[in-house]
Amino acid sequence: MTPPPVVAEDSMRLAEFEARIARDESIEPKDWMPERYRKQLVRMMSQHAHSEVVGMLPEGNWITRAPSLRRKMILIAKVQDEGGHGLYIYCGTETLGVDRHDLVQDLLDGKAKYSSIFNYPTLSWADIGTIGWLVDGAAIVNQTMLAKASYGPYARAMVRICKEENFHKRQGYEIMATLSGGTGAQRAMAQDALNRWWWPSLMMFGPHDADSPNSDELMRWGIKRKSNDELRQRYVNLTIAQAKAIDLTVPDPDLRYDEASGDWITGPIDWDEFWRVVKGNGPCNKERLAARQKAHADGAWVREAAMAYADKKASRTTEAA
């Protein structure tokens, strides 16, 4: 897919803009930017924000079942962070002239995309460990790159988020290490979770570069600095060593180490599964959306009360004046 030609836009301004990108300048909200740059950012940032928000759901449903008070407090703090990350990125997206209210509505209406990884179920406690280790681990690889994105508000949100994600990954890896060193049943539980999450975690980086319609444009404008495949490779290289250290095996019979490049080469990824989940037919797509809608509806009275209180206070101030 080739991006639509930039018509009716001042070619001088476009050249100036691209020169700024080439000089690694930060693009700020009030700066001139091509309409297409704005659109791509709104698309990407809002999907990212939605992913943080939906990401609270698979973990949230384990809060009441965490195996100890320590793990429970950690999980609550992590889920709260994910909500915070959603807020940072929604606020960043709003600097592009869209309204968070509309973005949230799109999510509730099922019109918005979010990371497919959250459409997989969390069947055991080991899944919570695996999410922290693999899903947050993959997110860190991606977000560390996005912290250098050309759009200032996005990059700044990523810097904040990356600092917090490290705790997420560590706590997940600790859960996995503990289970792996535990009883036979605990070890099996850890291995089973890794078996189910490994391939979906590789898919988090998106299609191969050759099949990624948005990549070229995003890289040309410095929104992304590395390609999907480069990021995926970095994640694989980091993670294989971590799996070995806790004596777990990734479920890939074709996995091999390439001496020349120093890379771990994985077997083929099942892209049919990827597209099936993206298009709404993953194991939990409907459940996640229903849970989000319910949470929003259940919170209606809080929003209503806050508004009523603000209105009352405002009217009292007017009367007093």
Binding site: D81, G84, E164, M307, Y309
Partner: protein, 98 residues
Amino acid sequence: MTQSTDRPWPVWEVFTQGKDGEPHQHTGSVHATDAEHALQNARDAYARRNEGVSLWVVPSAAITASTPEDMGPFFDPANDKVYRHPLFYKVPKGVKVF
């Protein structure tokens, strides 16, 4: 459900002072119904790890900012006054500590 439920909340800009003695710096924004609510949301969103000892919230609409188009003309009175910088001045040789 009443209409007010889905009325968007105004945006507030958040400024955080990291430590005593440091300046307040812009950290992001929140949505909130009033100033008190904005402060609470700012604390939850931007100070979960003691990142701030003091917070300011300001309605976004109340901020007046220079525009990127101003960049040249608005700031150029500063451009031709190098004598405002210490390096403009020669100090006799031999004076090591000034």
